[in-house]
Amino acid sequence: MTNGDDLNRRLSKLLSEEGLGVLSTCGQQQPYASLVAFAATEDFSHIVFATPRPTRKFANLAANAQVALLVDNRSRRASDFRLAMAATAVGTVKEVRKAKNSRLIRLYLQKHPQLEDFLWSPTCAVLDISVERYSIVERFQHVTELHLKR
């Protein structure tokens, strides 16, 4: 049985060390995956990312706010099958109102300062995934689910 504190620590490490994740959206009955730069809150309950509006993923999100985000620490070695960790966050997206004092925006720019101009562009939307649960995969097929209380 996985110790809860240990799992939290590993998930926290994964979410803070990895900068990019694969976002899954769905539009016109067709799943679609996109690589996005993200930042997660300390309690894992929110994940923020940004995208230009004239994109397929944004069109999908506008039609269907349900998303999944896969974050993993693969290193492209054979050992990945045993050592890599992957977490899939499942939740609902809302657009964040852009303001300098927004906690989520500060969190995002702290992790990705290079995206500051991108984020403040009028055509860029900042999105907040309100996470309902994580599916965490370790040691090839060891899967744990972490449900967030609301």
């Binding site: 944004f58 657009e95 964040v96 109102r97 906690r103 300062p113 995206l115 562009s121 055509t123 939307a125």
Partner: protein, 740 residues
Amino acid sequence: MKTVLRLDEIDEAHHDAVGGKAMALARVARTGLVVPQAVCVSAEVYDRFVETTGLRSRIVMEYDRKPFDQMRWEEIWDTALRIQNLFIKTEMPPDIAAALRDQISSELAGCPVVVRSSAIGEDSRKASFAGLHESFVNVRGIASILKHIKLVWASLWSDRAMLYRAEIGLDVSTSRMAVLVQELVAGQKSGVMFGVSPTAESEAVIESVHGLNEGLVDGTIEPDRWIVGRADGAIRSHKPAAREKMVAARSRGVAVVSLPKEKRAQAPLTNREVREVYHTGRSLEEAFGWAQDVEWTYRDAQLYVLQSRPITTATGISQQDNRAWYLSLHRSLENLNALRESIEKTYIPQMISEAESLGKKDLAVLDTEQLAEAIRDRQRIWGHWQKVYWDHFIPFAHAVRFFGQIYNRAVKPDDPHEFARLLPSAPLKSVQRNQRLVQMATAIGRRSNRPAKSADGKHGHHEACEVISDIAAKAESSTLRSLLATTSVDKQLVFLAELAKVAGKKTARRQVGRKVLVERFLGAFPAAQRRNAAGLLDLARASYKLRDDDNIYLGQVEAELLRALVEVKRRSRKAAGLRVATTTAGQFVQVLVDPDFRPSREAHASRGEASLTVKARQLVGQPAGEGVAVGPARVVKQREDLLDFKRGEILICDAVDPNMTFVVPLAAGVVERRGGMLIHGAIIAREYGLPCITGVPNVCQAVMTGDRITVDGYLGIVTVGPAPTDPVQAMPARSAHSVV
């Protein structure tokens, strides 16, 4: 390890931390020669600054926007401007600032200083960065020293420094910079000794000026020159200079001032001093093991060595690289003022009068031989003005860039290209010309007494033809004139009807914002310097206006060459298949003089030639005009495509030629392959308030006419395919905005 080191604390172990210049100066000091008191801020401080502020990742983001070898110089300059602005805007973290303040103040308390670059790898025998990075002379006060340290770090990212590093294969992304903070020795005479003459290995060269040597180093002040035998130190020759000016320290910075009369007749150095400089250079050659270029100054009879670096000409490096060209990318204020004078007072009036005099000639009365001669003559004139354009007009464009750099340092704007908003001071020639054309197009509908676009019947057609020939006679674009002479009337009428639809469309001029920006710019200088700042703005405005207007004037000369080619087309069926262009003029002459000549039909590039099995979805370029436009693309690959342009389409082209800007009032946005913020297409798009993206590789192949595209002029992204109804509107959230 200490991060701020005195020269006597630097040894070989510090090589990767202090850079070539500081390392060399420490070695000079160890030989017992007198050097100014100095400290070196090691490259570790640079590393900490870019790491803790997040600048390192932001630099990589800007630098890798496009592969470096695919960037035009204009794009590299824009990249440099953006990266340098990051340094200017980013505050030094308090702990770094406090450490520097303590250590620098304790070593150089209160004295004016020179803040010099000492890039890692600089001034080695393999590469010379001399002049590529910035140095600031006569900096006073610790706050100002810290500010100038940041500017020296930023100069690692100048266009010329990036180009040079890329050329000699240094990894730009891991480049770092140490900074030398040196006591300013305000010498009465200064100079450079070249340990080996570039023209004779047995000789050394000593150059010297009165005052500080900044004017000598940047070429503003002509020095006295002595040739000295390397073997015996004997003076072989002395060439005096005109000696009219000198560089002197001011309350801050330095200035070029008149040389006092008593010094004009006097060489800066006595023969004894020439010999002392020579012996100093030779002793440094012995200490370093190879010949040196040495900068020095005399203060009250004491010779100070300011810096010493190995001669790269002796290793053959200078012959192989383009450093001289990179250095020429930056012009001095004096040079820019001289260019303006010659352009405004000589070249432009001459060019206008030349075009006018050619325009008065009636080509229809010439016989075949005379027409051939007229074409040859016009080719020669066109070639002459093109050369003038490259030699004088293009270099003058640097005035805008010079101003941009000064503006950003003074104002620290969020948008590094904000300065461009101050530049338009009068309506651009292109805009005025377009307004006149639209008015004429509007007249067609009125005079033919029927809507011009329905010119499918015969009624009114004759009337319309008359108006078109009137427009063709008055059109100021050589391209439009030649199109009106060579395409079908129906096509012309449809196009002119489109133009008539935009009658009354205003350009996006932002006078109010501009006034505020001008005040902000001038207000950033102390009262005594405001006049100079205003002069610089005036110079930049002249340069900006000229970047548009010069093309128009050059276009008038070009139009006269094309007019002669159209005359050949009118006379000879053999010329029917020839494209009217300056590049085909030779073939037109052959049509006239060689009865056996059969021109080969030029193969026009077919649309969609890049057999695209891969379809573009998002293309990235450089944002060059703010705003978003959604609409059908019109890919203009050849001049003939211009008349197909419809209102609301997005102009996609290789480069907006000044002679094709007559379609811009119809366009909803502009995208071009050629890159740069200050190129013609970007200037004209901003003038009309159109979203604009430049530097999109392969855009004419990747996008097809009729594709629905979104031009995101904020981010520099072209999206091909379906787009949201309003790309700047927040998500139509069934849910409320997140309030987190």
